[in-house]
């Protein structure tokens, strides 16, 4: 094994890239769950976002429009979930699982003509001054714009939940929907909006995979990223700060194990592939605090 082949600066820099798709999908799901809805369809929305983003980006040659398309695609798919669970009161677990299966199938269908095509270039930003700082510059300030968009979304969600009135109402709806209804808040409306935000974020996460990380379309390319996002939300105790940590930890160990594989580590490849999952879960379980939103996963109907 040749550890000198691993460049620590490059490793840390690619950590941010590797973490971004999971972070995006997870922050959306965090908002959904704080509103009291358990959407297990993150994987399905992520891969639908991946294919929608890819198709739009190829058609328009604009990665930005691709990301926009991905967000819309994810949101539209999540709207199906929202209508079924919020208006027709279907079981959230079953509907979410069905959404994942549906999304996987739908994306395979939509992406049939796009296998093997390359996505349009999405160049990295070179942030002047900040990007010139040695060591930190290449690690933090020389990425593609979506890395920063993702961070901005996480920060925005944190501020929204902590400081805004709308965020307070959203938390109230998730904590005790009966009480929120009694106070005159629109439980279903708040949840629908949260679900669509979650779908849009999952879509962005998927598009990041197909437009930046890989960057091309293959069937089933999300490979469980949506599920990891779901797990990170739970283990992060529904807090944006911990979620960021969890996503970066997962991204970091992923990159590290890939590097170790390339360097020919004496550990079996299977164990290395397991490492990101084990490390993320272990750390977040140890740090675990706080509880789930009180009404998580329960259907709400005004008459009861």
């Amino acid at each position: 094994m040749d550890l000198s082949s691993i460049n620590p600066i490059l490793l840390l820099a690619s950590l941010m890239v590797a973490a971004t798709p999971i972070m995006l999908a997870a922050i959306g799901e965090l908002v959904v769950e704080r509103a009291g809805v358990l959407n297990l369809g993150v994987e399905g929305m992520t891969i639908t976002g991946a294919v929608c983003g890819f198709v739009v980006a190829v058609a328009t040659s604009s990665p930005w429009l691709g990301f926009l398309g991905a967000a819309i695609g994810g949101a539209v798919l999540s709207l199906i979930f929202g209508i079924l669970t919020q208006l027709f009161l279907s079981n959230q677990v079953a509907t979410g699982l069905a959404l994942t299966l549906f999304g996987l199938g739908l994306s395979a269908l939509m992406g049939q003509g796009y296998i093997g095509i390359k996505a349009p270039e999405f160049p990295d930003w070179y942030i002047p001054l900040l990007g010139d700082i040695p060591v930190i510059g290449p690690i933090v300030f020389q990425h593609d714009p979506m890395v920063y968009v993702g961070l901005a979304i996480v920060a925005g969600v944190w501020a929204f939940l902590k400081y805004s009135r709308a965020g307070l109402i959203l938390r109230a709806v998730g904590e005790n929907h009966e009480a929120a209804h009694a106070l005159g808040y629109h439980v279903v409306r708040v949840r629908m909006l949260a679900i669509m935000f979650g779908g849009a974020c999952a879509g962005l996460g998927g598009a990041y995979l197909s437009l930046v990380r890989v960057p091309q379309w293959t069937e089933g390319m999300t490979a469980g990223a949506g599920w990891i996002a779901l797990a990170i939300v739970v283990f992060a105790s529904w807090r944006p700060g911990r979620l960021l940590l969890g996503a970066y930890l997962f991204g970091g160990v992923t990159v590290l194990q890939l590097n170790l594989q390339a360097a020919g580590a004496a550990i079996g490849v299977e164990y290395l592939s397991m490492a990101p999952y084990l490390a993320t879960i272990a750390v977040l379980v140890i740090m675990r605090a706080g509880r789930a939103p009180g009404s998580l996963g329960q259907s709400f109907h005004a008459s009861r």
Partner: protein
């Protein structure tokens, strides 16, 4: 006569299969405490929800200060000066007091300012409350204070209170009444809903009585006896439980220095409880909630394991027996919390009947259920205790609190226990149903069973007990004959009872 603050005329609201309100009309004046009385299901909740904008009436009008008033949603009602304190608190456990209060306000100022206002109002009305505490950690009384302060911060013209005292200790009730009297003096009208007639007599200026959705009478509660009001609610003569004097039988259940550690963080440890219960005796155990009532019931029912030889039943040591074995030999218990403890909310009444009655009523054999037999048993309970439900196939959750209470108490009584332990048997139950439950407990004792009634309602205990003991911080006072006990004596028994007021029994 000047224009009243709120005028209701001809309010009607029908739900499929039931008319909740039928042509309801009455007025509430400024600075008036107006009581709304009625049995469970008389339509009180629907009526106040209409005023608060949660329910749209099918017909009828309301005017507030002479202006037409038809709030499409609670925000509009709040904006017009109507505030409401809910029966089941509309609070959010994981949030702090200030956030909870902000959620009930139309245009809340920043959190820091709310905190300052909360401190201000809580000083003004003698309602101590820390705005930074998380609501989930507060006691029932403190949680209600959160609701009240949330209302007061909006300077309401009308404050609606739905069963505000059902979860409060007598001491907390006194504090609440002090606050309400102060509000009345400042000109706030209060619409007060309660089952506790003595409270209404002490507090209210006027009362409107609802029965089956209709106004059946108005009265001045200060001039009307509790019994007359109860009869107005029920529409027939109220049956007051009758207790026959009888010689005490043999000792059937003994506790010998029963001690147990607190089962969880918020529990109370039981300390050296010694007690003999005789056949045909009704033993009343009083005390403020949280002094070991739940733990005592759990120890007797077998839910909580205790050390050997601490519980003797007919000379046999039963401390090691699990609940079903105790049921088999005739020791039954009905816990306080009906939803989730005494009954499984999403299971049908038949299934709930099977859960505790399968051993004694032989509802199973070889591991298979006798559905027909179980259904009959559930039906018998429903008939004998006047449980209002379409049938035993209905989920426990669909019953109102009082009706479910009748079912879970009736289910145990119908199994003809030799010893029955009940905790808060008439909690949240209306006057006539409460009287029926008490009578059933007395009848059971008449037939020779021993009955242990744990309750916070001292009036109830005085009415039915042969002997009375008080539970205080997990210790039980020596039982004394209930007949002739004075309020002062009870107070002394309850208290080592630090700062516990017993004014409650005087009414």
């Amino acid at each position: 006569m000047t224009e009243p603050l709120l005028r209701l005329s001809g309010l009607t609201k029908a739900y499929p299969g039931v008319v909740a309100n039928k042509d309801v009309s009455f007025n509430i004046g400024r600075g008036e405490v107006h009581a709304l009385l009625g049995e469970n299901g008389a339509g009180k909740s629907t009526l106040v929800k209409t005023i608060y904008g949660l329910v749209k009436p099918d017909a009828g009008t309301m005017t507030l200060e002479g202006q037409p008033f038809q709030p499409p949603e609670p925000r509009a009602a709040r904006a017009a000066g109507v505030a409401m304190v809910f029966q089941h608190f509309s609070l959010f456990d994981a949030m702090n007091v200030a956030e909870n209060i902000a959620l009930g306000m139309e245009n809340p100022p920043p959190q820091a300012e709310i905190a300052a206002q909360v401190r201000n109002v809580s000083d003004q009305y003698g309602l101590p409350l820390d705005p930074d505490r998380v609501v989930g950690e507060l006691s029932a009384g403190e949680r209600q204070r959160v609701e009240i302060i949330r209302c007061l911060l909006q300077d309401p013209k009308l404050l609606i209170m739905d069963e505000p005292t059902s979860v409060l200790t007598p001491q907390e009730v006194d504090i609440l009444f002090e606050t309400l009297r102060q509000l009345r003096a400042e000109g706030t009208a209060i619409l007060y809903i309660s089952h506790k007639l003595e409270e209404i007599r002490a507090l209210c200026d006027n009362a409107t009585v609802l029965r089956l959705g209709e106004v059946v009478g108005e009265c001045d509660p200060r001039q009307t006896s509790a019994r007359d009001m109860a009869e107005l609610m029920v529409g027939s003569t109220l049956h007051v439980p009758e207790k026959a004097d009888k010689p005490a039988g043999d000792v059937v259940l003994s506790l010998n220095g029963l001690s147990a550690k607190a089962p969880h963080q918020f529990g109370t440890a039981l300390r050296d409880i010694t007690l003999d219960v005789r056949k045909g005796e009704v033993l009343g155990i009083g005390g403020v909630a949280g002094n070991g009532q739940d733990e005592l019931v759990a120890a007797l029912s077998g839910e909580m394991k205790t050390n050997k030889a601490m519980i003797t039943y007919k000379g046999q040591n039963i401390a090691h027996l699990p609940p079903n074995a105790r049921r088999k030999i005739g020791l039954l218990a009905a816990p306080e919390e009906r939803m989730g403890h005494a009954a499984a909310p999403d299971m049908s009444l038949t299934e709930n009947a099977i859960l505790t009655a399968m051993t004694r009523e032989k509802l199973t054999s070889n591991g298979f259920l006798h559905w027909a037999k179980a259904r009959n048993f559930a039906q018998e309970v429903i008939a004998a205790f006047d449980v209002r439900t379409p049938g035993p196939q209905n989920a426990a959750r669909s019953l109102s609190g009082g009706n479910l209470q009748k079912f879970v108490i009736g289910r145990e009584i119908m199994q003809t226990p030799e010893v029955l332990v009940v905790n808060q048997p008439t909690w949240g139950v209306d006057a006539s149903a409460a009287a029926a439950i008490r009578q059933a407990l007395l009848d059971l004792a008449e037939k020779g069973s021993a009955v242990i009634v744990i309750s916070q309602d001292l009036d109830e205990l005085m009415e039915i007990s042969d002997s009375f003991a008080a539970l205080n911080e997990g210790r039980l006072s020596a039982p004394r004959p209930a007949k002739g006990l004075t309020v002062e004596e009870i107070g002394l028994m309850l208290g080592g009872a630090h700062d516990m007021e017993v004014a409650h029994v005087e009414g």
